[in-house]
């Protein structure tokens, strides 16, 4: 297993969302409630650029984005990073709870439904992270 994969603690989170407001709220929630380093990407493309640098422990990945969808980003990042791919948690406003299984089967660490409660967000991220480990 890679070094990143073996980490049991979250230090670094990448938020990928095209909606500025949601990005801001997510960032505020995480920065306000945790000590994690929070990095932002406004599109899939930007996210992939980010992944070329220092790898985060978790990627919060919006599904419905223009140009590249969350799934596209996931696929390309997997190709790019292979086993070094950080945990990916999808964030989506589109699906129902029952469909979370599908994302899991594809290799996602978890799915967080929008709208989410910013006060509980770090908890949800940690749960997904540990579940996969």
């Amino acid at each position: 297993m890679s070094e990143t994969g073996n980490k049991s603690k979250i230090n670094h989170v990448l938020i990928v969302d095209d909606d500025d407001n949601i990005r801001l709220i997510t960032q505020m929630s995480l920065e306000g409630l945790t000590t994690w380093k929070v990095q932002e990407a406004r599109s899939g493309k930007e996210a992939l650029t980010c992944l070329a640098g220092e790898l985060p422990d978790v990627i919060l990945l919006d599904v419905m984005m223009p140009d590249m969808t969350g799934m596209d980003v996931f696929g390309q990042a997997k190709t790019l990073l292979g086993d070094n791919l950080p945990r990916v948690i999808f964030m989506t406003a589109k699906v129902q709870a029952s469909e979370i299984e599908k994302y899991r089967a594809l290799g996602a660490a978890g799915v967080i439904m929008k709208p989410f409660d910013p006060m509980k967000l770090p908890e949800q991220i940690e749960e997904a992270f540990s579940h996969f480990s």
Binding site: D19, I22, M64, P115, F116, P118, M119
Partner: protein
């Protein structure tokens, strides 16, 4: 009828001539002159006799010809032939007799000519009788009768006879002259001779006259019978004839009355002087029983009887009346047909009439002919009645197609007279005049029918009123006993009413928007409407008479064919079947169909037809997809801004944006809480939409009902506690319910949370399950002590956005959709939902679900097996060295495996918690332990002990062998030998030896024999007694080969193969060993990997074993060498 009288006559004449000849001889040579004269006289008599004989013969021939025409009896024909040949012989004899007389030779040749003509005509009529039947022949017969052909023979014969008579007179006078000149003794001899001659002449003339008379009478009767259509007319004429010819004064005919068993007078004919006699009057009104009076006597004896002296007769009630009018003697003969007594003809004479045997015979013969006439008349009458009264059109054709007869309805329909159409080709008749095509069709039909074929088609004919009728037309050949077609019977039934109804129905059927067909219960397509044919771009003949699932509508998709086939079978068992399909049209475009198959039963409940129906629901489906997409989009578009709103409010409320005044915080809290409600509302709307659109798939399983209750209570404990409500579970039931566990818990949660919300603090909510009496359903109930619901409102509860008091909604935080969703979920489970409530006494919400599934065992294997079967399992490489892992990965990829890699035991264990790998490639030396430890751990784990393992190691393999891991396939030493690795992979596909063979066979003995034989081969056997077990064992143990019987308890062999096809890449070696003879289609269906089809009655067990050996190839040892 025989020439009885004539034969006797000839014998007599012959005897007398002999006497005469002796006399002549005795007279000596000195009387040569006289002798010569006498010889000439005798010769003349002989010629005369011959002529008479010839005439007699010809008349007999003619009589027999007539009889043959009338009755068609071959016996008459033979008689005719005999007489015709005899006449020929007689003419030849005459020629010899008169060749010295040129005048007679000429006359004879004229006679001969006439005879030839007469016989030729007779032959022609006979031929027509044979080919064209009685009616045609009768016409001709009457034609020739009226012509003078027959007379010309008589004339020619009389002409000849006159010449001979003249000669006779000359010769007799010459003989007399000579006689006077002779001596006394000679006179004596001559006198004797003359007397003999005169005697000859007398006897000859008398008996000749009698025979002639009798023959003429018979002939006349035959003709009469021939000519008269009407029975009364015929009998009357016969009576006249007999009276006129036989010197009788009165003739009466008595017929047996059908139901009284008495003879009644049918007709009386008498000489004019008797017309007014009381006797005749009395006769007309009398009836006699058997044995009574003259007719009764003839009836009793069934033969001719006579009363020579009426006055002395005791059994003669009309005695006095007869005496009054001077009648002296009586005679009666029976009318008999084929031994059936029909009546009597009685005759009276005013003189003594003694009757000899010959005359009696003649009259009896006449009686039989009358009998035949009556029988024929009656038969004809009955036939005519049927023929004319029948509702349909019937006719009678010769094999050429000429119309011999047509019944009244047929004639009336076209308004023609029989004469207009009879004896003309049928197709020229008015019925066919309107349509050339139909006319040709008829001609062809007549040709074929004449060759023996039964033809039937639908025709249409114009009616005189301008409309037209539809006729179900048939043409039936009628053959004689030799199988030769003699006549054709055309028949037409008016089916206009039916046809018109059919046309109307057909129009609806064909033009209706949906696709409709008609199947036999075995699935053969009988009919399809136009819409369906047009959709597929085919004609009816392309699809009709084929199994429905093999028709063009389904043929593009084998899976669909199977679905349809099963649906047909189900419908044939009386069930209504309905399903949705998606099929390509002829242009390749995809269409959605709502398909149903309805069984149609007869009154006894037997399925006689199936009606498949398909509705194009492509647009509906498309709309559904759009709606679904719309909901999905709306959901996204609504939730995105809500995420920001909810997030912002959450952050503010959580204090992450800094301290805010309390009043503001209160407002923020309200905004956040309402925002949450809005989100719930959106979720509920989407949920409800999905359930109602049937878009959620229920993940059904058998679940303990009590378990559902427990889980619901667990989930709501917190809420109940907060509101100070006690949740109490009802009595445990142990009942099992087949349902989607999560969804039912959702329903229960909804009902219980409602109950909590509406119950006063400190009260209880009871949650329980009840089984109904028949145990066919389970009733879940939630009982609260809330305010209760007025009955009038109860029904509103389950509708959308219906809260009884609008203020409630705000207070209790509901969306107004909870119960609607609940109801939708219950109904999706085919359950019922309701509420029993009384205001002030609380409410009990309940729903019921069907108790336990009746699905076959196959569809619900135990959890473990299902898990194994329903996931895709990649190969797992456990290897710490990256480069070796890469090489292994490459090889596995080449062999078609998906690959997951773990670089440590711990990682492998973690992976295996989520995946069951198809195969494990295991390195023994790993950073965190020994690979053998993993093997040991796996072998004790039931779910994973079957996973094949290939060890890839640099270590000595000794330890590997010792660990006894059951599914260890091989070990491959490092550095890796590629071919060995591939061998190992191939072995993986077959799963490790000893090779395992699954025997699927319901017969214990057969299973045991196979098993024993295979064991001796070194193969381990798995056994299954039915299809369900076969699939279960297959999933568990993944055997190397399957020996499959087909007729096993459900699912049968075919179904098993179908299921295995999907589960095993379809490459498992298979030996079908069953008693069934399989056709090629079935063999195609019964195919997995290497497949052999063996038949129990043909192939021995040894052959099966040999095939097993062949299929398992290297996995079993080769047969021992002998």
């Amino acid at each position: 009828m025989k020439s009885f009288g004539a034969t006797k006559l000839t014998v007599m004449v012959g005897a007398l001539l002999l006497v005469a000849a002796v006399g002549m001889h005795m007279s000596g040579k000195q009387f040569t002159t006289q002798t010569t004269s006498r010889t000439w006289v005798l010769h003349t008599y002989q010629v005369l006799d011959k002529i008479e004989n010839l005439l007699y013969t010809l008349r007999s021939a003619e009589l027999n010809q007539t009889k043959f025409i009338l009755f068609g009896n071959d016996g008459y024909l033979k008689e005719y032939d005999r007489f015709a040949r005899e006449s020929d012989e007689q003419i030849k004899q005459l020629q010899e007799m008169v060749d010295d007389n040129p005048e007679q030779v000429t006359k004879l040749s004229r006679l001969q000519n006439s005879v030839a003509k007469m016989l030729a005509t007779a032959q022609r009529i006979i031929a027509i009788r044979k080919t064209n039947g009685i009616e045609a022949a009768k016409v001709l017969l009457n034609d020739t009768a009226s012509s003078d052909k027959a007379n010309s023979v008589e004339t020619a014969a009389k002409d000849m006879a006159q010449v001979e008579q003249r000669l006779l007179q000359l010769r007799l006078s010459s003989l007399n002259t000579n006689t006077q000149k002779t001596q006394d003794h000679i006179n004596l001899v001559n006198g004797f001779f003359v007397v003999a001659l005169l005697l000859i002449v007398w006897i000859y003339s008398a008996s000749r006259e009698k025979a002639q008379k009798s023959l003429a009478l018979q002939h006349a009767v035959s003709r009469m019978l021939n000519e008269s259509e009407d029975l009364y007319q015929a009998i009357n004429k016969i009576e006249r004839l007999i009276v006129a010819h036989g010197g009788w004064a009165c003739a009466s005919t008595w017929l047996l009355s059908d139901n009284e068993n008495v003879l009644r007078c049918f007709d009386v004919f008498s000489e004019p002087w008797l017309n007014d006699a009381a006797f005749v009057e009395e006769t007309r009104s009398r009836k006699f029983v058997k044995g009574e009076d003259l007719p009764g006597k003839s009836w009793e004896k069934q033969q001719a009887v006579s009363i020579v002296n009426l006055a002395k007769e005791e059994n003669f009630p009309r005695k006095n009346l007869a005496k009054d009018c001077g009648l002296v003697s009586g005679f009666a003969f029976p009318i008999i047909s084929e031994k059936n007594f029909l009546g009597v003809v009685e005759l009276f004479a005013d003189s003594k009439h003694e009757l000899d045997q010959d005359t009696s015979n003649t009259f009896e013969s006449i009686g039989r002919e009358i009998g035949r006439l009556i029988e024929r008349q009656r038969t004809q009458m009955r036939f005519r009645a049927i023929f004319n009264q029948t509702y349909g059109f019937i006719g009678f054709l010769d094999t050429e197609g000429n119309l011999l007869d047509a019944n009244e309805p047929a004639l009336q329909f076209s308004g023609v007279e029989a004469a207009d159409v009879l004896h003309k080709p049928f197709w020229e008749g008015p019925w066919w005049a309107h349509d050339q095509v139909q006319k040709e069709r008829l001609k062809d039909a007549i040709r074929r029918a004449a060759a023996g074929e039964f033809i039937r088609f639908e025709a249409h004919h114009p009616a005189p009123n301008g409309s037209s009728i539809y006729v179900d037309f048939s043409l039936k050949p009628v053959a004689d006993s030799d199988g030769e077609v003699k006549y054709l019977i055309p028949e037409g039934r008016d089916i206009t009413e039916r046809k018109e109804a059919e046309i109307k129905f057909r129009a609806v059927f064909d033009q209706t928007f949906g696709f409709i067909g008609l199947l036999r219960p075995d699935g053969i397509l009988l009919d399809s409407n136009q819409s369906a044919l047009e959709f597929a771009g085919v004609k009816l003949e392309d699809v009709v008479n084929k199994p429905y699932w093999q028709t063009v509508w389904w043929s593009r998709d084998p899976a669909l064919q199977e679905t349809v086939k099963q649906a047909v079978e189900k419908a044939a068992s009386g069930e209504f079947v309905r399903f949705e399909t998606r099929n390509p049209s002829s242009t390749g475009e995809m269409f959605d169909f709502d398909v149903s198959i309805k069984p149609v039963t007869d009154p006894s409940g037997k399925v006689i037809l199936l009606i498949p129906e398909a509705r194009d629901i492509t647009q509906t489906k498309e709309a559904e997809r759009r709606v679904s997409e719309f909901y999905s989009t709306v959901s996204h578009e609504l939730r995105t801004p809500l995420t920001s709103i909810r997030g912002s409010l959450g952050l503010m409320e959580g204090g992450l944006t800094g301290a805010i005044p309390e009043k503001t915080l209160k407002m923020v809290k309200i905004a956040r809480s309402e925002c949450d409600r809005l989100i719930r509302l959106i979720n509920d709307i989407l949920d409800l939409q999905k359930i109602e659109a049937g878009m959620i798939e229920l993940k059904r399983a058998d679940v303990q009902a009590d378990h559902l209750v427990e889980r619901t209570i667990d989930g709501l404990k917190g809420m109940a506690h907060t509101l100070n409500i006690d949740l109490i579970a009802g009595q445990p039931t142990n009942a099992v319910v087949h349902c989607d566990q999560d969804r039912i818990i959702q329903v229960l949660t909804n009902l219980v949370s409602n109950a909590i919300k509406f119950s006063p603090p400190g009260s209880d909510v009871l949650i329980g399950v009840k089984q109904d009496v028949e145990e066919s359903s389970l009733k879940f109930f939630v009982k609260d002590n809330g305010p209760g619901i007025p009955p009038a409102q109860a029904h509103k509860l389950f509708a959308r956005f219906q809260q009884l008091d609008q203020s409630d909604s705000r207070q209790k935080g509901g969306t107004g959709l909870g119960l609607a969703i609940t109801k939708a979920i219950v109904e999706e489970h085919h359950g019922l939902i309701g509420v029993d409530s009384e205001v002030g006494k609380g409410s009990t919400f309940w729903f019921s679900l069907p108790a336990v599934s009746k699905l076959p065992a196959v569809s619900q294997p135990d959890d473990e097996v299902q898990q194994l079967a329903s996931h895709i399992h990649p190969a797992l490489i456990i290897e710490d060295d990256d480069s070796i892992a890469e090489v292994l990965k490459e090889h596995l990829h080449q062999d078609g495996f998906e690959v997951v890699r773990a670089s440590s035991l711990k990682e492998a264990e973690s992976l295996m918690r989520r995946y069951v790998p198809l195969v494990i490639l295991l390195d023994l030396t790993l950073p965190d332990g020994d690979g053998l430890d993993l093997l040991t751990a796996l072998s004790t784990d039931n779910a994973r002990r079957h996973i094949p393992v290939v060890i890839v190691t640099g270590r000595d393999p000794d330890g590997v062998v010792k660990c006894g891991y059951p599914t260890l396939i091989d070990w491959v030493e490092k550095p890796i030998d590629e071919s060995k690795l591939h061998d190992a992979f191939n072995a993986v596909r077959r799963k490790i030896g000893p090779a395992r063979v699954l025997i699927v066979e319901d017969d214990v003995a057969a299973r045991e024999i196979l098993s024993q034989q295979l064991n001796s081969l070194g193969v381990s056997c798995l056994e299954a007694k039915d299809g369900a077990e076969a699939i279960k064992v297959f999933r568990h143990s993944n055997p190397d080969l399957i020996i499959l019987d087909l007729s096993i308890p459900a699912p049968d062999g075919f179904a098993v193969v179908d299921i295995l096809k999907e589960e095993s890449n379809g490459d498992k070696p298979l030996i079908v060993y069953s008693a069934m003879d399989l056709n090629s289609d079935q063999k195609q269906l019964l195919k997995l990997g290497l497949t052999a089809h063996l038949t129990k009655s043909i192939n021995s067990i040894d052959q099966v074993i040999e095939t097993v050996r062949e299929f398992l190839d290297g996995l079993v040892p080769p047969p021992p060498d002998i």
